[in-house]
């Protein structure tokens, strides 16, 4: 046997401070009416840092700082200068990428190979991409605005953007939010998730290092209540949220009747559809990447495998063999494929739904794998014999759990794939080009990956249909949510 020796990435590359304040007006400040909470390493349950929890007054301070920066500095600043700040931030992210990757893996539990090879390169690329837009907004293709409603012809920023992001890709979601907002000329108040605040706080330091004018980016840490206070703050012109459909609904209600422009990137229950003429080995990789990437904590995860009956046994056999190769464990080990579940609460939800799957009669399988004793872990799992009626076929599990269903014809595959309130992503595996296009036309999903899965790029718009939210992030479409168009 060929056993890989431990290959840990060095932790010493990052200095975590014992405690962090709120980043408001360009400085770290203590909360005035909030408390604090601890951010832990989900792989060990060790406390990483004590983080301030912003109260209503703190949120108000942050919004006012953002407003002042918008009116006095960032709004009036020529686009070419905003661009230079964003380029500068992108460069610093590249320069400090290993430090950020290690911090991300420590706070989130994701494997270092993913934070290093996926998250960080995409974060930097996102800032580079939107940096270039800052002085080209008139070319973004939104056409003329109705002249009676707006003055001038250049697209205008909205003002202050309130942004609330999830814990699954903490820094990447920050980049998806902050880069287009700043490029368009808005200032932001961003709230990272309570279980993963640290990389956003390091990003605040990067803003300082870049000499970004005070108040352009403000980071308020806290839990749901802080987020609610932020999106409901009357001084906010724009709300952008990525997270659960349930919270997205609450936010949509909260901004009803206001001037606030809203974009939402919510849940998903994507079908990954494998036809009998698929390139099987690559399809199996795509299935694995689709559901086990980032522990399945991915809104666009291919959590429903729809496999054509004629090839189902063969695909499942290959899939199981491949799953047996997945290495679950220390997120900082360079050979780890599946890291820790982000929190005890998320682990409980994954367990609950998995138990429901077994109780409802689906057959559960996981490869033999030894899970560490401390921390939050869940073995990669598949359920076969799943029907559309099962909870595990309908509800987002947000974990390394795949529900396998079968189909016989392309039309049946489309019908099953679309039979969900969600519509974020879908996968198609077949060697027949015309079938790919036929399927892609019919799938009600914002991103369709054909013969690939879970690919992201700053130029490529991302976002959902139906209850997966509205608005797009990425590409020139991503500017629309931050402009008065």
């Amino acid at each position: 046997m060929f056993e890989y020796a431990p290959a840990p990435e060095s932790r010493s590359v990052v200095d975590i401070r014992p405690s962090y304040g709120l980043f408001i007006g360009g400085r770290f400040v203590d909360p005035t009416d909030g408390g604090s909470f601890k951010s832990i390493n989900p792989a060990s349950e060790e406390v990483l840092a004590e983080v301030a929890e912003a109260g209503a007054q703190d949120v108000d301070r942050a919004v006012r700082a953002a407003r002042e920066a918008y009116e006095k500095v960032w709004g009036p600043m020529p686009g070419r200068d905003r661009a230079k700040y964003l380029f500068r931030i992108a460069r610093i992210i590249q320069e400090r990428s290993r430090e950020l990757a290690v911090l991300e893996s420590l706070d989130n539990g994701k494997p270092i190979k993913e934070s290093r090879d996926v998250d960080l390169p995409l974060v930097a690329a996102h800032f580079f991409y939107y940096a270039g837009w800052a002085d080209k907004l008139a070319y973004a293709g939104f056409g003329q605005r109705p002249t009676s409603q707006h003055s001038g012809t250049d697209p205008r920023p909205l003002g202050v953007a309130a942004q609330v992001i999830p814990w699954n890709f903490p820094l990447l979601m920050l980049a998806w939010k902050i880069a287009p907002a700043l490029a368009a000329g808005n200032t932001v108040v961003l709230k990272p998730a309570e279980t993963t605040p640290l990389s956003a706080l390091l990003f605040a330091e990067i803003c300082q290092q870049a000499d970004l004018p005070a108040g352009v980016v403000n980071i308020v840490t806290g839990a749901g209540e802080t987020g609610r206070t932020l999106v409901e703050h009357p001084g906010v012109d724009k709300v952008a949220f990525t997270g659960s459909t349930e919270v997205g609904r609450a936010i949509a209600r909260a901004v009803a009747g206001t001037r606030k422009k809203l974009t939402l990137e919510l849940g998903g229950k994507a079908a990954n559809i494998v036809f009998d003429d698929a390139p099987i080995d690559q399809a199996v990789e795509g299935i694995v990447n689709g559901i086990f990437f980032n522990q399945g904590h991915v809104c666009c995860a291919g959590s429903r495998l729809l496999v054509q009956e004629s090839v189902a046994d063969r695909v499942l056999e290959s899939l199981k063999r491949r799953m047996a190769q997945l290495r679950v464990g220390d997120p900082l080990d360079k050979n780890t494929d599946i890291g820790a579940i982000n929190s005890a609460a998320q682990l409980a939800r994954i367990r609950e739904l998995s138990e429901a799957g077994a109780a409802e009669g689906a057959e559960r399988w996981s490869p033999p794998c030894q899970l560490p004793e401390r921390g939050f872990w869940f073995a990669p799992t598949i359920f076969t014999g799943v029907t559309q009626a099962h909870r595990i076929a309908r509800e987002e599990i947000f974990g390394p759990v795949l529900s396998v269903l079968t189909f016989r014809t392309p039309a049946e595959a489309v019908e099953k794939a679309n039979n969900t309130p969600y519509g974020l992503s879908a996968g198609i595996w077949t060697d027949k080009g015309s079938r790919i296009l036929w399927m892609a036309d019919r799938l009600r999903a914002g991103v369709v990956w054909a013969n690939t899965f879970n690919k992201f790029d700053p130029t490529s718009p991302f976002g959902g249909y139906k209850e997966s939210g509205y608005g797009r992030e990425g590409g020139r479409h991503g500017l629309e949510g931050y402009l008065n168009v």
Binding site: A125, G141, F142, G143, Q144, R145, P146, T147, S148, Q149, T245, G248, R249, A250, A252, R253, A256, G257, L264, L266, P421, G423, I436, A440, A445, G446, V447, V448, W449, A450, N451, T452, K455, D457, T459, S460, P461, F462, G463, Y465, K466, E467, G469, Y470, R472, G475, H477, E480, V485
Partner: protein, 274 residues
């Protein structure tokens, strides 16, 4: 010889390409006519009709949709006098005709302007294209009755959505007459469904309906009602277009926002290899 007794028109609803009375059997007197007073069930029937038409209309070629919208303009031009008789000015009718023509031309251009290839950093073909959101509930502006209605319906349907429109309660006759134009323009039944009556009866039903994908609140003038409808719409995360200000100029260039707000962008990836 006695004077000829005129044959009066019954103003009915327009649902699924047909002109039914309200299932409630009610009507209300407005603009010197008895106009159908839609019920919640009429609203529901209209959604069913709109949903039934959605697949075919979205699947029609852009060229075909453009042809049909242009045909609407032709028919409207020919019926100008009917609208003038309802008190609509010549100027408004012409503007409405021109607006159909303007949107007709967008059918096969918007996907080019609003979509396209994305230069991703990898060996992938990557294309974004707009698709219709689905079934859209529309509250037409109170006035101008014809131009306002056309200005909210045309941008929704040109891209392949189907609509359920709540017509101006105070001036519904132009809407019903427009339905007669639509019915003779090769527009498939159910693509546009028109409800007359009180907004308070039909619109909350449409806003809460789980099989409606978007709602355009343009004609809602009461801010509290607008907020309430938006709250209802959140239940299934409908796309929401908020009311326009009272001073909104319906004769101005409308831009593309009304179309793009009712579109979903779908992005398709595929590897490039041999």
């Amino acid at each position: 010889m006695s004077e000829r007794v005129a044959v009066r028109k019954t103003y009915k609803l327009f649902i699924g390409g047909k002109f039914p009375r309200s299932e409630s059997g009610r009507s209300y007197l407005v603009q010197d006519a008895n106009v159908a007073l839609s019920s919640r069930k009429d609203a529901r029937d209209a959604v069913v009709a709109a949903r039934a038409a959605a697949k075919g209309w979205a699947g029609a070629t852009a060229y075909n949709r453009g042809q049909i919208l242009y045909r609407v303009a032709e028919m409207l031009e020919g019926r100008r006098e009917q609208f003038v008789a309802l008190g609509v000015s010549d100027e408004e009718v012409y503007a409405a005709v021109d607006r159909w023509v303007w949107y007709a031309g967008w059918s096969d251009k918007l996907p080019q302007v609003y979509g396209g290839a994305n230069p991703v950093a990898g060996p992938y073909f990557n294309l974004s294209a707009p698709e219709p959101t689905g079934v859209v509930a529309v509250v037409a502006p109170e006035a101008p009755a014809l131009l306002g209605l056309v200005s909210v319906v045309a941008p929704a349907i040109v891209t392949g959505n189907t609509v359920v429109v709540a017509a101006s309660p105070s001036a519904p006759l132009a809407a019903v007459t427009l339905a007669e134009v639509l019915a003779t323009s090769d527009l498939p039944g159910g693509v546009v469904n028109i409800l007359t009556g009180r907004l308070s009866e039909t619109v909350p039903t449409l806003a809460a309906h789980m099989d409606v994908n978007a709602i355009d609140l343009t004609g809602v003038t009461d801010p509290d009602l607008a907020a309430d409808l938006e709250v209802r719409a959140a239940e299934n995360l409908k796309r929401v277009l908020r009311p326009v200000p009272a001073e909104y100029d319906w004769y101005a260039d409308p831009g593309i926002t009304r179309m793009t707000s009712l579109l979903e962008t779908k992005t398709v990836w595929h590897p490039k290899g041999v």
